[in-house]
Amino acid sequence: MSTFDEIPKTQQEALRTVVLWLADDRLIHGHRLSEWAGHGPELEEDLALANMALDMIGHASSLYAYVAKLEGREEEDYHAYFRDDIDFTNCAMVELPRGDFAFTMARQFLFSVHAFLLYQALMDVLEDEELAGILKKHFKEIRYHLRHSGEWMRRLGDGTDESRERVQHALDDLWMYTGELFTSNAHIEATVRFEVFTDPATLHAPWMEMVRQVLDDATLTMPDQNQYMFDGARQGRHTEHLGRLLAEMQFLRRSYPDASWT
């Protein structure tokens, strides 16, 4: 049974649920970015991609440590290594294969705009000072990711015909995975009720506005709004890609559970 069939019944459970989404998003996205190491289009970008991957995995690590503490667990990265795909609650967008550089940057951009708005909202509602402190640290880096990916959207959109075509194609492919960033469900409603999360629907309009601005600058076209939207990854209903990603990520740790690697 997936853990996420259970709807949070207390404020602490609700908080734990939210922090795990945040952590899972960042770990899986960081994993995809880390796949670029040594394969970037230029040396400067190898550095930047590794940097963003490090930030994201670092964010995930601090959030998992926070959850482990809530649960009284000793192993800080237990949630990264010992859960299956139906227990992960990252959005599906981040688990898609890394694709070409245009896909990676378009995903980074769409994700970073959302992260920027989400963190702003969370830092407003969260009462827990320790967690607010963690998020505040991440926020600085999120701003950098947003700037970096936004600049690349402009460069690729307003660069050559090929780069425009590639990045437009990437946006079109990614769009159906943006819907679930803003939809609600029973779990999310519970977290909103306990005042540890904002109604995700409220982030949609500002997200559209920020995305539109950059796409306009980049001479790119907003994808069709009335298309099928993937949903359910926040409840463990993922694409087929996550299972393989986890098989790779977890194999060594799980093969030798008694071994120490810290």
């Binding site: 190491a37 970008e45 690729l156």
Partner: protein
């Protein structure tokens, strides 16, 4: 600079321990040798990202994953400032890169071996970075200023990498039976290739004498190798690792450790392109370079358009 007088003055500056800076006069041959050495060093940093990058997605803890990712990122950084330092000699980065991807330029043969288990990551940190430090500590005293300074900076980061690799290897060597097996197996595979990193014996190293005379290097390949073995014997013993050389023996007379015959046939074969991973490494780097071409073109085109717009506006 060609007259005997000028060459003599140059040699005097070297002998006085002066640093040669980019705008100083220098013999053409000095410039060429430096471009060859420095770009080879830069290519090695870049190709070196591949064997280690192989384990980022499989690292056994988030901490280890971040340590490895940061290390691979450092290598990209080293590559970047080594290319920049080489550019001070009038070379173009793009030409240098294309020369190892499609031409005859080399990178360190050590990266033509595969990383089979996670212990390989620890051993690369300990042995390969350890050997690199021995070499780079010497190069930090090199007569060419920009190269000396680049090596000084690289050494600081490499020392950190070596420490991390050694500590994790120590942990594995005293860990579960499976971890111990992986640790020893990795050392068995990497030991001899690491000794080859210092280059051929002095008697087979045609460039050495000239490089030493010009102060680019201050020690010979064999001197560096002996120094390295002396250190590693102690470090291996301290963590219960056996070095795979039955002829390893302390020599009272020389005060150094004697070691067995290095498999030079393998060395020359890998240098010439016939090693276990040569083709794959080059294929991966060519692929990144070619697949990145449209990105670089887009960035150039965008910059051009922005410039035009700025000109129009003013």
């Amino acid at each position: 600079m060609n007259t005997e007088q000028e060459l003599k003055q140059f040699q005097e500056r070297i002998d006085n321990g002066e640093k040669i800076e980019p705008k100083d006069a220098m013999p053409e041959r000095y410039r060429k040798q430096l471009i060859r050495m420095m770009s080879q060093h830069a290519h090695s940093e870049i190709v070196g990202m591949l064997p280690e990058g192989n384990w980022i997605t499989r690292a056994p803890s988030l901490k280890r994953k971040m340590v490895l990712l940061a290390k691979v990122q450092d290598e990209a950084g080293h590559g970047l400032y080594l290319y920049s330092a080489t550019e001070t000699l009038g070379a173009r980065r793009q030409d240098l890169v294309e020369d190892y991807l499609y031409g005859s330029a080399k990178y360190s043969s050590i990266f033509n071996y595969p990383t089979l288990t996670y212990a390989d990551i620890c051993v690369i940190g300990w042995l390969v970075d350890g050997a690199a430090i021995v070499n780079q500590t010497m190069l930090a005293k090199s007569s060419y200023g920009p190269y000396a300074r680049a090596n000084l900076r690289i050494c600081k980061e490499e020392s950190f990498h070596k420490k991390q690799g050694y500590e994790m290897l120590a942990k594995m060597a005293s860990g579960t039976p499976e971890q111990q097996k992986m640790a020893q197996d990795a050392v068995n595979r990497w030991w001899w290739p690491t000794l080859m990193m210092f280059g051929p014996h002095d008697s087979d190293s045609p460039n050495s004498a000239e490089l030493i005379r010009w102060g680019v290097k201050t020690k010979t390949n064999d001197e560096l190798r002996v120094h390295f073995v002396d250190r590693m014997v102690m470090e291996a013993e301290a963590i219960g690792i056996t070095l795979p050389d039955p002829d390893l023996r302390y020599n009272e007379e020389t005060g150094h450790w004697d070691f067995g015959l290095i498999p030079w046939d393998e060395f020359w074969s890998v240098v010439k392109g016939d090693g276990p991973m040569n083709r794959e490494r080059i294929r991966a780097r060519r692929h990144a370079y070619e697949e990145g071409a449209w990105v670089r073109e887009a960035a150039t085109e965008y910059a051009r358009k922005q410039r035009l717009r700025a000109e129009k506006a003013s």
